[in-house]
């Protein structure tokens, strides 16, 4: 069974959109953060698909870097979120709004 590569691009775009919508709609910092990860991994699908279409390994190597960057982001993000939740248990994006002009 051969699946047209375009479908993978569509899948990637869909996942990216779901992730983007999630960041904008959800209020829990942890969930927003998971949505960002979803976006990054959606892009990974794109990269692999393009690499396959172009017959070029470059796109696959990119995925390694993106994964590592995403991991570093996870750590920093969790650190910040834990620091905030320790101060205000159950805080969500609307609670975190001291700063405005």
């Amino acid at each position: 069974m051969d699946v047209d590569a375009t479908w993978y691009l569509v899948l990637s775009a869909l996942l990216f959109t779901i992730g983007g919508a999630g960041v904008l709609v959800r209020r829990n910092p942890l969930v927003m953060f998971m949505c960002v990860e979803l976006m990054l991994n959606a892009v990974n699908i794109s990269f692999v698909t393009f690499a396959r279409m172009l017959n070029d390994t470059g796109g696959q190597v990119v995925v390694f870097f993106v994964l590592v960057v995403a991991a570093a982001e996870v750590v920093v993000g969790l650190g910040i979120i834990v620091a905030i939740l320790r101060r205000q248990p159950g805080a969500d994006a609307d609670d975190i709004s001291l700063l405005r002009g």
Binding site: V61, F64, L67, V68, A71, A72, V74, V75, L78, G79, V82, A83, R86, R87, P89
Partner: protein, 187 residues
């Protein structure tokens, strides 16, 4: 196809065993729930709200540290595949990479991020915390100096002092500087 037969049998057996266990415990075990039995404390105060869950931040820390080291390994696999072709160059590169990663590790250890027992020493805690405090305890001791000079401290520090009664502490990285409050006032 024949090669896969044992695998299929194994799979069927595994799933079958799980289903069988669940079904048998449902069927055989007596089940007579009452409201008193379901309460968290069978005899005692009726809880009005959920217990705040407390567990040491050290768990989070270890998880985070694990993620970093776990993912760095990703670069070792492609390197290992072409290790011979790369020769000395690859070795040097990987050494540089490892050193950079392990500096972070040295830093973590020196900050006590991996200490589970009593807090041994920490550069920035000298005198502000007593040694009985553990990195995994949830009670923070308030330095007495803050209270004495509390009036002189600016609002931000005072507010912190107030919100300190029993905050979950513990993350060495987080709490080291958080816990210390000197009240020097810039002239």
């Amino acid at each position: 196809m024949d090669d896969y037969l044992p695998l299929v049998v194994m799979f069927v057996l595994a799933v079958g065993f799980v289903l069988l266990s669940i079904a048998s415990s449902k069927l055989l075990a007596p089940s007579r729930p009452t409201s008193a039995k379901d309460a968290p404390y069978e005899s005692g105060i009726v809880p009005t709200r959920d217990n705040p869950e407390r567990f040491p931040v050290t768990f989070y820390l270890v998880a985070m540290i694990f993620i970093v080291f776990d993912i760095e390994i990703i670069f070792l696999y492609p390197w290992a595949v072409i290790y011979r072709e790369l020769g000395a160059f690859g070795l040097v590169e990987m050494l540089v990479f490892s050193v950079a990663v392990f500096v972070a590790f040295v830093y973590l250890i020196s900050n006590g991020a991996l200490d589970w027992g009593p807090l041994r020493r920490s550069r920035r805690l000298d005198g502000t915390l007593d040694g009985n405090r553990t990195s995994s305890s949830t009670i923070r001791r308030i330095p007495s100096r803050t209270q004495v000079e509390g009036e002189a401290a600016p609002p931000a520090a005072r507010e912190e002092g107030a919100s300190r009664e029993a905050v979950a502490a513990g993350a060495a990285v987080g709490s080291t500087s958080e816990a210390s409050t000197s009240t020097e006032v810039p002239v």
